[in-house]
Symmetry: D2
Subunit: 346 residues, 4 copies
């Protein structure tokens, strides 16, 4: 009953196997290992982007901050949803990496809407007002912080607003795979065919040890990225162990299988919660649920060893009938049995 986070779950054995196999004598360091060549080709094929520049780093924050820094001047502002990860959970990494750029928060419950994004951009006229932070990149999160998935139409509406203002678009795809299986589209459709310039393609939350790809569809920023990655100390000497994770992740669609498994567990858990009368705070569309149910149920779950985040209240003390909110995240390894056990306490 571990629903705390997909970043606390196990690594898939197939990936571990590739990591072990990579430990075969010597390999050229710093991204010059032959496995990286394989990874680069796999990703270019997967994204139908033969010119793409492809890099690996070990954390999602590094992927986001480095990708954004390549597209943001220090006197610009990045546009992002109010509760986005880059605003709430990265301890000023985007500001640090960009040399002091600002984040302009787009008011929203979860997803940005094109209208509100458009209004925020319009307040930052470019190239005319030296007093103001200038408009910079737009960053979209897919899956969102509250478990929603932008449709292709929604993505395109947002990127169209950015493009109309000549702004680059970053996609924070820490849960890229979970979104993709929800949409059932191609990786290309969810990125460059929908106006995305650079994507953080997550692996860590979906069954890897710690690896994220940064993919630039226009390779113009490639050398700058390499210098920024090195300067930020994110270039690994024994890089083959990053490459191996990503190679194993992509092999035989393991990444999609794992995302399907996570999303299926989430769907089963969602239906179960509805059946049990728990309130849903957002509509789960991938592998995350935000829900609300009585303290008494929380207490039973906690006593039984369930792990998940409770928000805005003390599980142990208070009216047993009071509703407390919870975030439940399914990773690839969640089973029907685990879901059902969780639900049995309701």
């Amino acid at each position: 009953m571990f629903f705390a986070s997909d970043n606390a779950g196990p690594v898939h054995p197939q990936i571990m196997q590739r990591v072990m196999a990579a430990n075969d004598g010597y390999a050229m360091p710093y991204g010059n290992d032959p496995i990286m060549d394989e990874v680069r080709e796999s990703i270019r094929t997967l994204f139908e982007a033969p010119q793409a520049a492809v890099y690996l780093v070990a954390t999602g924050t590094a992927a986001n901050a480095l990708a954004l820094a390549c597209y943001t001047q220090p006197w610009q502002t990045i546009f992002a949803a109010q509760h986005s990860h880059i605003e709430e959970d990265e301890c000023n990494a985007p500001e640090f990496y960009s040399g002091g750029a600002k984040l302009t928060l787009i008011p929203t419950d979860d997803k940005m809407t094109p209208e509100v994004l458009q209004a925020a951009i319009a307040r930052r006229p470019q190239n005319t007002n030296v007093h103001m932070a200038q408009a910079g990149a737009v960053s979209i999160t897919q899956v969102t912080e509250f478990g929603a998935v932008h449709t292709l139409d929604e993505l395109r509406a947002l990127t169209a607003v950015a493009k109309a203002a000549d702004l680059p678009v970053h996609l924070d795809g820490a849960r890229f795979a979970n979104a993709l299986v929800t949409l059932g589209c191609s990786a290309a459709e969810m990125t460059w065919k929908s106006g995305v310039d650079v994507v953080s393609f997550g692996g860590t939350k979906n069954g890897c040890m710690g690896v994220e790809a940064v993919i630039f569809f226009d390779p113009e920023k490639a050398w700058e990225f390499e210098l920024r990655r090195k300067r930020a100390a994110h270039l690994f000497s024994k890089h083959r162990f990053l490459s191996a994770q990503m190679a194993g992740y992509l092999e035989e669609d393991l990444w999609l299988d794992m995302a399907r498994s996570a999303n299926a567990a989430c769907a089963r858990l969602t239906q179960g919660l509805i059946d049990k009368g728990a309130e849903l705070l957002h509509t789960p569309q991938a592998n995350m649920i935000f829900t609300r149910f009585p303290r008494a149920t929380h207490q039973k779950l906690h006593a039984a060893g369930a792990k998940y985040y409770v928000m805005g209240g003390d599980v142990n003390t208070g009216d047993p009938a009071e509703l407390l909110s919870a975030r439940l995240v399914c990773d690839w390894s969640r089973t029907d049995a685990g879901v059902d056990e969780f639900l049995s306490y309701f």
Copy 2:
């Protein structure tokens, strides 16, 4: 015959085993895994420093840059040897992490001498001249870039100069283990007992996948380090895989055994080179050799598949008798047979 770098060698199987074993279901993320508790205790015991703050990162540059940033204000200058790694091989990471501090390079063939360090510090009077970069941390590399090891007396003479000016001391210990087995002293003696405030305790070059500890003997900087690490995107969610490496590294003195093996291979290779008449450019004291021998020999070695860096000349073209310099690095996995095979081409 792979002598290119200790960062291109294999991971020790015992460490791989610990990494595999760490993949056992769920673990709390971001350094809250139980293996980290074990690592912290091991390091505190090893360094005889029960109060030390102990953290893990994945690259040596991250360890150096984060450690130095905790002890350096943006208007200060770090004192380091002219050819130190932080100057030559980190693409301005110390400048980036410190917010724009300067590096003052101490002229030297390899090791800093106390006299020259003292003169450089004296040129930066603190708290009196607002126009000048102010004196900041002193960074010492042990093993040095050219393979030398500071004796405890040498270390203490340098830290005494720093302490007299009230400056903090950082030790870049990317090859900490190799130095320690050369000196035959304790980890405490080579660090805080010799005036070191914070150490980058390397694992990557000595048989790990990618892990370095940063150890603050005074825990005053602990929370600042945690914030800086997160902001720099070096806090791993699945941190247990860093912890597991370090746990395996320290277990039953594996780290010292590996360093002894590397240093022994280096000693055998050194003696062989001397016997063969190759010139030594520096006296090897750990696991690195800088040597010079004829192009013809380089050509034979290259033809046979030997890997190492040649400096200042083209192996393929030119007078066969011309002497070309080379760097040879031994990692833990070098064997007598491999060394002897290398020497057989002379």
Copy 3:
């Protein structure tokens, strides 16, 4: 009829006189001029703060950014009103000077309220959550961007919220004098006696050429400020010409006389606008008016050479009856005749 900005108005002749007089042969550079000694004493006396550290810079943005940087770590966030100058008009200077700190915008029409400030601070628990930007300084603007003046009670309610969270308080006093004459209190009451730690004490908008004092009531940050000022290139060699401006400004309460003159012109203009039926968008409490009146009137005023900012519409084209907003700012040199001339076009 020049109501565009108080930063476009003339310098008071008494201040010009002091600047001329300062050009008397040689003076020690970099703030060591004797006039600065006079200024420091005047300000300490004026603020009843004998220990205060007092510095001069030439722009309001420099004063704000340097003052805030002394009280903000790069991983923190500054709390400020949504439309504050530091957010809207300083092109990321606070982010630059602080090394990448964030600004958290407090939603408000103009002034921050203690409740909303408190809620924002509460969302940033200090010293417990490494993922989030940490709570940093609170910055209050007095006079606000829309021409309001915080009462002492309002100021104290805001600083009490900051102090309860152990956060430092900065006062952006670009129009300090205008606020002070509105409140009729002492400089000490409007600053440290109300919980302010550091103030940007403006001169430029109130009849100087370009000078602002930064006043730290606790001198602990003095040396850091001096280094930050120099590093930012804001330490003037011929500093006496900054000192002379500030000396002339403070002499015989010129600064208060000028602020009274500006506020009086504003009051006369406000009453006239009310009498003429113009709508007030905010209640003017110092020297700025935000108002709305028909395009036809704007056209008459423009034809007559009046200067002021029109917001959200084109003066020249459109329905003559449509209401367009305007900002009218009175500086010290506005006369009754000028105000009445302006009103005569209604």
Copy 4:
């Protein structure tokens, strides 16, 4: 007998007059004043550069740091003479403004030589080695820190080295006028016709209150400079008072007259010192002298009220015959009488 610094001397009355005259009612702020139009034209004419982008700031460090930041990425290194102002006297301003670039110091007694510059650049191969700071701008100081003036041939030899490596060239012209009158060439010849891309054109040390022009011969960086200047808080609202200084400075060649006066005083003082047997440490070529003479003479001069910097020894205590070094700087207002009085104490 004031020879301490040209930044401590008086402002020329003609410049003061222009500043007074600028205080005529209202003027558009932030560089949109009409006097700036005049200045821009004067400078473009003077430099024979009709497309040049021309900006004013108030300090020499701001001019240097902003100009260099426009031509330096944070992962690059600026090449400059070992004792250059940007290294020794700007408290890490170049590092701050560039976002953490490095300075590579070219070993020299004073001027850089093309050979040593070339060797330093060659050690930083561009676009091939991600581990190293990349080659960035070359900064040349004219007049040098020790009072020498590069001939046009020397300038061109240095810029040729930069151009061969495709590196931009900055000229720190804090004493531009003093150099120009020494060379007797045109402003264009000493800058873009000799390969300079951007120049800090000093006014402060040569009779202004505080104004420096930054001149980009290629206007490509114009908007970036404007944003950087604003972000750094160096954009003045009452900008007309900067413009007025520069307008007065350039009017009727006042700037050249003042430099001639300073250089002439320096020449007279130099000859006098030679006649008196004082040792010259460098050959004075503009308005600065580095010399050495007995402590007893220093004591007489100090007793008589002479002001200048003594280096490397205590004037008051020690052997009267011991030679102590001094720096003597002549500003525009030095007179023959003052020089002769100084010499009379030898």
